[in-house]
Amino acid sequence: MAVFIADTFAEAFPMTATRLVITAETPGWAETAARVLSGYATSVIACDAEAGVEAVLDRALTPDQRPGVSVLLFAFSRDALEKAVSNRVGQCVMTCPTTACYNGLTPIGEKSIKVGGRLRYFGDGRQISKLLDGRRYWRVPVMDGEFLCEETFGTTKGVAGGNIIICGNTQMNTLGAAECAVQAMRQSTGVLLPFPGGIARSGSKVGSKYKALRASTNTAFAPTLRGAVPSEIAPGADCAYEIVIDGLTLEGVEAAMAAGMSAAARCPGVIAITAGNYGGKLGPFHIRLHDVRDRYPCP
């Protein structure tokens, strides 16, 4: 049976983004640092940033020719991003054996954030600055030698909140389809799927009956509430999973959504694919599912 693609749109927002390149003596330590840095970073609703591993990098592609990982981070503002990145690099990368951290967005324009420039003070006056080809690096003495961190990182206005919601007949089928979608989406560069394993099981809506809460469960897609509240979950679907996509560019988000829809639609048990929005009243980016399906055909 053909999968129903809802004629709706995902509502996305501009967010300030940056890319880090983390290297280490071994691929394992680079990945460890990247994963720890991007922990507790699923949503700016309650985290200081949205973060995740973008790609594993061969040593030939890293500034210091060591194994590396690229990480994307998004935040509401440049100031918020700077604080989040410098805190995370300081606590999660600098602490990790053999690592170094470089800017992954070039050229660095006026809208940049200081990372090494904030962390250098940990060197207690013994830090060393090196300026090479217009880029400044800080060498902070630490117990295993030096932590090398670039002073300034570039930022860009990215797009956050692209999403697809996969509705399926059973939990396991829907989850399997979401996993396939995530795998397809992660082939793209410049995109981040911030939720655990790329998948959100507790999609949210704006507002709550409790004044202290900014967001609450997306009741329209909670299958256990069907019949008790207005429901948007497809008829016959007993489960829904949401995949949120942040990207450095709108095109990147669109292409990832198209790839995810195509992959999910081929999986058994998928009934419908839709997307979440706020009526178009909040976010300037309205990514229509039919439009991206047609503009980014996937095999």
Partner: protein
């Protein structure tokens, strides 16, 4: 379109020709360039008396000088942009005080090359004289930016009072390498024959890939053996500039010495671990 000046005959008197810089000659006609003034000893001469001057579409640089210019000083002095190529040797003070552009010399250069430079790139395929990238007498600081790459040997006191920038040498380096270094980096891929290595250095880095083969000054203290990751960035940049670096240097470990303790002691001398021969 490139401007090409060919030396008619090697001069018998020292020539001072600070007018030979690509940024100021770029928009001049060959005739206008010929009428520019240089100094032969105490006498004023026109460039046209010393060089044939022509414009050519085939040149790869804005300004090309051809001939044995070892007697011509101050070439490229103060230049701010553009490319200068010398097919031959060049005299002293090449690129002194330059703040942009690049100079490539197929032969050797005299003393004071890159003295007081602020930015730009100098590539010397042959040897360089003394005081490369240094401060002039009476000045507090020498080279403040840019890079100087020497494929051959280096004379004495290279990088003295250097404040920022990069000097790399593939051949032998002479006495007083990095003396009074304020900051910046000196990478020596050949043997360092002279003494007074880093004497009086406040900060900065002297990295030796062959080893000095001489004892250090007693005001340097051994710290540790480790892999300085930042050096890889420099090696990669040198490769991008077409400067040969040993492939096995990328993963080498280095012995680190802190000094000069009679200054601030925040400088470092790094000696490649497998070439360490200090007694």
């Amino acid at each position: 379109m490139s401007l090409i000046l060919r030396l008619r005959t090697p001069p018998s008197l020292p020539i001072e020709a600070e007018c030979l810089r690509p940024d100021t000659l770029r928009d001049l006609s060959a005739a206008e360039v010929s009428r520019l003034v240089a100094w032969a000893g105490k006498d004023r001469v026109e460039l046209g008396d010393l060089f044939t001057v022509e414009r050519d579409d085939s040149g790869s640089a804005d300004l090309t000088l051809v001939g044995d210019l070892s007697g011509v000083r101050r070439i490229g002095e103060g230049m701010t942009s553009g490319g200068l190529r010398i097919d031959g040797d060049a005299g002293g003070h090449l690129g002194a005080r330059m703040s942009g552009g690049f100079i490539e010399v197929a032969g050797s250069v005299g003393d004071w090359a890159g003295a007081m430079m602020r930015d730009g790139l100098i590539r010397v395929r042959g040897n360089a004289g003394d005081r490369l990238g240094s401060a002039y007498p009476g000045e507090r600081l020498g080279m403040r930016g840019g890079a100087i790459l020497v494929d051959g040997d280096l004379g004495a006191n290279a990088g003295e009072f250097m404040r920022r920038g990069l000097i790399a040498v593939r051949g032998e380096a002479g006495d007083g390498l990095g003396a009074n270094l304020v900051a910046g980096s000196i990478l020596a891929f050949g043997p360092v024959r002279g003494g007074r290595l880093g004497a009086g250095m406040k900060r900065g880095t002297i990295a030796l890939f062959e080893g000095p083969m001489l004892p250090f000054l007693p005001t340097f203290r051994h710290a540790c053996r480790y892999r300085p990751v930042f050096l890889t960035l420099y090696l990669k940049q040198l490769q991008d500039w077409g400067f040969d670096v040993p492939p096995d240097a990328f993963e080498a470990e280095f012995e680190r010495y802190n000094g000069d303790l009679i200054a601030s002691g925040k400088g470092e001398v790094l000696i490649r671990g497998d070439r360490h021969a200090i007694e």
